[in-house]
């Protein structure tokens, strides 16, 4: 399936298959969450246990990576993980295409990660301490920092897009060449790869954001130690 194909248009706005699938995933996630979280109880049922397990795992992972920022980062990082898992897996369904098989989608997500890194970094301690770390250890490193920021964002987008698109293409090719049940192992591999790529994307986003927050914290500590030594 081609995720870039336009499904319908709303005025001048051409809605692609990826966007439509994203809306479907969003609707399904929202409906499921609203349904399950409508009657939450202190003694959880089966679905509430699953949901609390997922949320607690996301929160715990963020806290292990960046202690004290779990509540703040969980909406963004958790949404990344949940959306990417669903978006990657939805391609397995017949007549459906993964939104992450579209470079525009992965680029949009990578761009959001890029922005969020700077957003969280700037809002943590202020712009000056955050931007100063681009000049560390020397102002000569500024171009390399900028190239690093851009390249890792591009790599983030292309890695996810390439893996998902290649898996879907391989599955389609195997399905066309081989029989009906032959692509099943490929689909199983797709499932594993979808989970792994979602985890990698979200984990890298978390690492980048925590790097942005901790870099200025390291810088602040260095400045404090320098001030203490000079005084």
């Amino acid at each position: 399936m081609n995720a870039e194909a336009v499904v319908f248009s709303i005025g001048p706005l051409a809605v692609s298959r990826a966007v439509a699938t994203t809306w479907a995933v969003m609707l399904a996630l929202t409906a499921a969450c609203a349904l399950v979280t409508r009657h939450l109880r202190l003694e959880p049922g089966r679905w509430q246990t699953v949901l609390e397990g997922v949320v607690s795992a996301i929160h715990g992972t963020i806290e292990q990576t960046l202690p004290g920022h779990g509540d703040r980062l969980m909406p963004f990082i958790g949404s990344l993980w949940i959306f990417l898992v669903m978006a990657n897996l939805v391609g397995i369904l017949p007549a459906m295409a993964s939104p992450t098989g579209d470079l525009s989608t992965t680029t949009a997500l990578a761009a959001l990660v890029f922005v969020s890194v700077h957003w969280y970094g700037l809002t943590s301690e202020g712009p000056r301490p955050y931007l100063r770390h681009y000049l560390q250890p020397s102002p000569v490193m500024l171009p390399f920092h900028v190239i690093s920021e851009i390249s890792r964002t591009v790599a983030l987008a292309v890695r996810l897009f390439g893996n998902v698109m290649s898996l879907e293409t391989a599955a389609v090719l195997v399905l066309l060449v081989a029989g009906f049940l032959v692509p099943v192992p490929v689909l199983a591999l797709h499932v594993v790869e979808a989970l792994v790529q979602a985890y990698i994307f979200g984990m890298l986003a978390l690492v980048y954001i925590s790097g942005g927050i901790q870099s200025q914290q390291r810088l602040g500590r260095q400045l404090e130690s320098t001030d203490g030594a000079t005084s």
């Binding site: 870039e4 051409a14 692609s16 939450l40 202190l42 969980m74």
Partner: protein, 249 residues
Amino acid sequence: MELNWTTFVLQVVNFLVLVWLLKRFLYRPVMAVIARRQAAIDQSVADARAAEQRAGELRADYEARLAATDAAHAARLAELAEEIAAERRDRLARLDAEMRAEGAKRAALAAREAAESERRAAAAAHRQAVAFVARLLARLGDAHLDGRLLELLIEDLPALPPQQIDGLRAAAATPAARIAVSSARPLDTPPQRALEGALAKLLGRALPIDYDTDAALLGGLRVGIGPWLLAASLADELPYFSDGARRAG
């Protein structure tokens, strides 16, 4: 594989909307219920700790009360032991006093019994001595001894107390008055005449005299004038000797 800016923008918006939706319908309620559960767990833990603390306080209070009770019990036991010791000392003192009194009483009784035995032995000795003397005098008694005793009686008559003499004379003044003379052996005539003369001199008149013999007198004689009795016999003198010896002993 090309970048579609419309899709790019829409996906950015979509993801931001998804973040809001998931925050609204997933993270917030789930974290809230987890927080409520954690609060309930914390409350339970706090309650458990409070209960544990109360239990500890109750236990400490119980142990304190138990210690106080033990101390009071020990004090009561000590007091009781002291009372028992005092009572024991009192009873031992009373018993010792009673034993001492009993010992003194027994000693007194023994002394009295010993004195009584001694007295009985002395009395028996006196009786045996009297009996021995009586048998000895009975064997030694003869007319000569009778004559000596008669002479002693005649010598002692004037020395009698005046009241006795008056009494004898009053007894002799009665019309039917007679004198009874008992002797261990028959008296000869001369002694009879001497006795009659002495009695007539003492009584102021001569009275008829009846003579008889009484071997129980052992020796000597006994003169009876009315209710009066003048004894000059061994049988009458021996008890006097015996009483005198017993009083002297």
